[in-house]
């Protein structure tokens, strides 16, 4: 299935096509009822509403693409699937968000304001890549270095240590080297 | 297993099944019309012969069709109880129950004779029916028991 590599920058297909190939969702079928936006828990934190994202994919010109790939909304989607669950056209806006997010990431169009989320994901993946597993402490450490956001949640940390919910010792899997190889392999295929 | 072999063989010889459908004028013929007005696409292998009612369809017509080189025959009329002529299709069904033996005697594989009820409202059912029959006959291969002269491929 072509779609498994969401985007092939070599002959950049339209976003609608990439979405169709990656998820089987035909965005052209969206009739803009807005039920996705109506049910979206994160909508009030978004610069573009879910139904507007669907609309911009339909428009599909250069301006629309720029707007889409740089928008913060992509990084505000919690992936809760409420939109997908209730879409009267049986489309899958959540999956559309996933694909757009990956394209935005791969083409490095992600807006600076979203660096925090990106930083989180990067920190998370770095941790897994090196340790095979994720441990909150190394994650938080990496995240804070990357996001330069040192102050938030400092209050929580001690309490978490106290409750054994944060451990200094990184949580490593024996086969972490192998996991590292998987990361490398995926990177080669442009998938991650 | 054997089936799959014949399929591949037929793929080579480009065998196109020749299927004759005896349909009643009131239900199945109208159902086929509905398939048309709904633009439902189906295999072009079937040739319809219209009769007033399945009650008119004499077993001998079916034998004649096979003898005439049909690879399969479809007999289709109204649903039980919906017959335009109130009971024609019942008479038909009663006759067909004994007809099987006659077919076997004539050396015709009963599976090449299809029965179905398609009402005036069932355009989709008609299209699906024709497609599935064509597919099956494709797999089963040409029927040349009666007329060995007609070996294709």
């Amino acid at each position: 299935m072509l779609g498994e590599n969401a985007v092939n920058v070599a002959q950049t297909p339209t976003l609608a096509r990439s979405i169709l190939e990656a998820t089987g969702v035909d965005v052209a079928r969206c009739y803009q009822c807005g039920k996705c936006t109506a049910g979206c828990p994160m909508a009030r934190f978004m610069d573009l509403m879910p139904h507007q994202i669907m609309r911009l994919v339909q428009i599909g010109n250069a301006a629309a693409e720029e707007k889409l790939l740089a928008c913060a909304a992509l990084w505000s989607c919690a992936g809760c699937l409420t939109c997908t669950q209730r879409c009267p056209k049986d489309l899958d806006p959540a999956a559309v968000m996933d694909v757009l997010r990956q394209i935005s990431y791969d083409r490095s169009k992600t807006s600076p304001e979203q660096k925090k989320v990106l930083a989180f994901h990067r920190a998370f993946l770095k941790t897994v890549e090196s340790d095979g597993r994720m441990s909150e402490f190394s994650l938080v450490r990496r995240y804070k270095m990357a996001s330069r956001d040192f102050m938030s949640d400092v209050a929580l940390a001690p309490a978490m240590f106290a409750r054994g919910k944060l451990k200094f010792a990184a949580h490593k899997s024996p086969g972490r080297k192998e996991v590292g190889k998987i990361f490398a392999a995926c990177r080669k295929r442009g998938g991650a | 297993m054997e089936k799959t072999e014949t399929i591949t063989e037929n793929a080579r010889t480009g065998f196109e099944p020749h299927i004759i459908a005896f349909v009643c004028n009131w239900c199945t013929y109208a159902g086929a019309d509905l398939a048309g007005t709904s633009r439902l696409q189906y295999a072009p292998n079937v040739r319809i012969i219209k009769l007033p009612c399945t009650g008119r369809i004499d077993p001998l017509l079916v034998l004649k069709a096979f003898q005439g080189g049909a690879d399969a025959v479809l007999v289709s009329g109204c649903h039980p109880g919906d017959c335009h002529y109130t009971s024609g299709n019942y008479h038909a069904r009663r006759r067909w129950s004994v007809f099987g033996k006659l077919l076997a005697f004539a050396g015709i594989d009963g599976r090449r004779l299809y029965f179905s009820w398609v009402s005036a409202a069932e355009g989709q059912k008609f299209a699906d029916l024709i497609n599935s029959i064509t597919k099956e006959v494709h797999a089963a291969g040409p029927f040349d028991r009666i007329n060995p002269a007609r070996r294709r491929a």
């Binding site: 299935m1 990084w75 990431y105 998370f124 993946l125 919910k165 998938g191 | -």
Partner: protein, 288 residues
């Protein structure tokens, strides 16, 4: 003695430790052996998912492959997030065999995709069906509970099976078995902000506060959940909620497995009740 594969996942070693403890305790009580998937790796969670298709499949794939190689037929993934990643991958591979080969190549581990993945609700209901309820010695009589499913235990076609996505009931039998009362409320499947705990705490605080608020309005004394992400958002963030002026007071957030553990008379500390940020021990007091 029965047995089932066990994939604790990363969270259960730290922030979700109570879930791990209570699951292990209940399994011991129900005489089910948990066979941990040796050398398991992180499922990638929403991070791999958000940034790379292949990686999002490859990481869970390796876990499934390991489990299969280990001779396991079923794997319990108590963390709702891990569950949806593993099950999602499994379903996807079932639909798309080329993907299976591709992954075998990518990870160097062949897999027939033969392992079934079980979530925490399915597992606990199974234990109850096999007679765990009979061992309940300390039911929490009359405690009003709001059953909270969140996203990952309610939505997702062919990932969460056999329950109504809009009005799920998968926890109710278990909660009643523990002697509690299930209160009807509106936010059972609302999102708590999920993985944004670090990156968008303001959103998490707002969404989680709304959930707590509705539970309170409905007269619930505690919220029961099955998801570590939901749990840490609802449990850890309550102080932040008050700070942000979103709500006052605190409401205990228990894992369903903790609730059952209490009903079974297991020592509160043994199931990690003392590790909560809200006063969960008070609940322990209620169990007779």
């Amino acid at each position: 003695m029965k047995s089932i594969g066990y994939y604790p996942g990363c969270a259960l070693a730290c922030s979700g430790i109570e879930l791990d403890l209570s699951i292990r305790e209940l399994s011991r009580l129900a005489e089910v052996e948990l066979c941990e998937v040796a050398d398991w790796n992180c499922c990638g969670a929403s991070s791999a998912h958000s940034t790379g298709h292949d990686l999002a499949v490859a990481l869970p794939y390796r876990v499934l492959a390991l489990a299969e190689a280990q001779g396991l037929t079923e794997v319990l993934a108590p963390c709702a997030s891990c569950f949806s990643r593993l099950k999602g991958t499994l379903v996807r591979l079932r639909r798309n065999p080329e993907m299976l080969e591709k992954m075998a190549g990518l990870t160097g581990r062949p897999c027939r995709n033969s392992v079934a993945v079980v979530n925490v609700l399915e597992y606990l209901n199974r234990l109850l069906k096999d007679g765990l309820a009979g061992k309940f010695t300390a039911p929490l009589k009359g405690v009003k509970v709001a059953a909270y499913y969140g996203c990952l235990l309610s939505r997702g076609e062919d990932i969460v099976e056999g329950d109504d996505a809009e009005n799920p009931t998968g926890m109710e039998a278990a909660i009643r078995a523990a002697g509690c009362e299930v209160v009807p409320w509106n936010f059972a499947t609302e999102c708590c902000g999920g993985a944004f705990s670090l990156a968008k705490p303001e959103a998490v605080v707002e969404l989680s506060a709304a959930i707590l608020g509705d539970a309170e309005q409905a007269g619930a004394q505690m919220i029961v959940t099955g998801c570590p992400m939901c749990h840490s958002n609802l449990d850890m963030r309550q102080r932040a909620m008050s700070a942000a002026g979103r709500r006052t007071g605190s409401m205990p957030i228990l894992y369903l497995s903790e609730l059952l553990g209490l009903a079974a008379g297991i020592a509160p500390k043994a199931i990690g009740l003392d590790r909560h940020f809200t006063d969960a021990m008070s609940v322990a007091g209620r169990s007779a």
